[in-house]
Amino acid sequence: MNRSLRPLAATAIIFLLCYLAAVIQFPSMLSTRVLGNFLTDNAFLGITAVGMTFVILSGGIDLSVGAVIGFTGVLIAVLISHFGMHPLAAFAVTLTIAALFGAAMGAAIHYMQVPSFIVTLAGMFLARGAASVISPDSIPINHDFYTSVSQAYLLMPGGGRLSLIGGIMVLVFVVGALVAHRTRFGSYVYALGGNTTSAALMGVPVARTTILIYTLSSFLAGLSGVIFSLYTSAGYSLAAVGVELDAIGAVVIGGTLLTGGYGFVAGTFIGVMLMGLVQTYIIFDGTLSSWWTKIVIGVLLFMFILLQRIVFAASAPRKKAFWKV
């Protein structure tokens, strides 16, 4: 089996085993209703994680996404509640701002040769600070559009509801996977993660690709902010603190190598679902503190990083060349 498929397979197996164990204990967890809620509750995390997958595949990191979610949430709330904008117009404005913000970070990373860690850390403070400057308080959003959209769903067999926002997340994953694995841009992302110097010599437009990657990540973080505001019907400057770390966790659990170059968008989906499963289990159990989620996710992350070390260190066999004589 292809080396990079192994962590993905491991994630999928672990997810199935965990789900099976949970279902044995709580049979009601095996229902489309629970699955539908999985998607809805993790929609904003999933959408951000898709962007993060691209960033990590290219060998970078984006610490600003949580702050961008917070910022877009506040901006949307202000535009709708204080300026009376239609939500769709507000979405367009904030998504444009988020994308431009990402493009600026990408440009700084490429042209100033500053590590992405530093640039996006600065971006995180900037976005979070800007959100608090706009409004330090939580701003409720009361708009008919919100009520109708956040309640829109598709009835699944078994009574489960695929909400609109859950559906958007699934769509983002599908599009993300196609872009990553089936387009030239996708191959450039992997190329950057493999070896930036080689990629440049092979004609990969490094500047454009880097800027696009961070634009995409910030845009998806913005979209995630939109989803989050639909989900909570409010905008708060301190919302989604630490989501960047959850997203990184989901990406790594999903089998993407933290140093870049190897991984799959679909893996991230399983990573997000696994994190959601842990949360749901703890809610079902009812006696455990919700902090157990963090502990379990910590253990899982550690396991996966270990697994990747083993897969990539031990199984690097040099295949013999098969010469045609």
Binding site: G186, G194, S198, K319, W323
Partner: protein, 505 residues
Amino acid sequence: MTEPATVLQARGVVKVFGQHRALDDVSIDLRAGEVHALLGENGAGKSTLIKILTGAYQATEGEVLLEGQPVRFADPLQAQAAGIGTVYQEVNLLPNRSVAENLFLGHQPTRFGFVQKKVIYAKARAVLATYGLDVDVRAELGSYSVAVQQIVAIARAVELSGKVLVLDEPTASLDRNEVDRLFDIIRQLKARGLAIIFITHFLDQVFAISDRMTVLRNGKLIGTSSLKDVSPTDVVRMMLGKDLEILHPVSTAAEGASGPVMLSFDGFGKPGKVAPVTLDIHRGEVVGVAGLLGSGRTELARLMFGVDTAESGKVTMNGKEISLRSPVQAVQAGFGFCPEDRKADGIFGDLSVRENLIIALQAKLGWFKALNRDEQLEIAGRYAEALDIRAANHDMPIKLLSGGNQQKVILGRWLAIDPNFLILDEPTRGIDVGAHAEIVRTINRLREDGLGLLVISSELDEIVAYSSRVVVMRDRQMVAELHGQDISPKIIVQAIAAQHQEAAE
């Protein structure tokens, strides 16, 4: 028959960096269907010329003509599109992507914006088949050997460019068999009418494959001539402007001259790496290690320096058993190790020459006895002088030095700890002929000073020149130990090849 057409031509090219004239009025012309060797010591201006031809640099004066038309490339991509492809010394491809993607990255055929993977795989298989390479094009490139990667790089360059192919030391990390394969491919491409520039440090390879050669020295053009008209000695004389002693190897290291046993390895080995080796090292002797790439030479060196931990056998030093479980213990015992891959494992590229020189000594002294700046300067000065390290100053980053000078810094680093035993893995690889002779002289001097040395090298002439004894490795085993009169390239080759003869019988 008419003279073959000139494909690429440089006329009166000058390149100035600050005060320094890296290239001074150099002209070269490449004909279709020829292999043109570009020769010169490190710093002669080979790389600068290549970079101008391939668009990485722009000439200060002079012009480049492609098929008679003056061209000016802003970057290597333009040159690539115009027909000039380059394969660099270190394979510059993506080990994490499939073979097929490495061939066509940036040029994948798409439909509705989506890459057509099946088309790419089919095309890749077809292209590689013409090179006699039968590999799974969907597999990661990194899972194949350097030789295969090298061929994929050549295939890519030819596929995308197709007029001129620049090969910058393509054979540096290939073994003999793989070099032969590569040469077959070069001949094939030559027959297809490509103009090929071939840069290498191996003179025998120049004569084996090239039609003409151009020699540069100190940025000046020394001459271009057909290889039929010159002998290796002429070429070396052109490169250096003098005759060189290394071409007349004499085994000066008489075995009787070596001192008492200093180190003995007894059944020292690690399953899967090196079969148990039993070997004594005397004071004042050089033990040469010969063998093909992958025969376990480097693994043996790593084991002896504690980089990998031996699982069998013991080591005694001056009669006492010592433990070699980590490089730290090896350094404490007075071992030094100059690794094969100088750039990756040897130098700290961004640190200064001085810091690179003192680092082993500092490691030996430990955390709490920091060398102050004056001591560092004194030590750096002493070894820079002793080894003739040519650096503008000792605070410049070592990565700016030439390969030969870097190697001398690493040697100096170990000499600073006053070692008993030095392990040198390919100390002359990628080093120009002049510095090469100096390294060989240094090895001989260290032997006379009473050190024990273990030197691994692919160049048999060189091994013969300095070894008191020669150990031959094959298939991760020590298969022969040669003494005295037996130390000659012919007998070493026989020892290396013995297995193949047996197999043929």
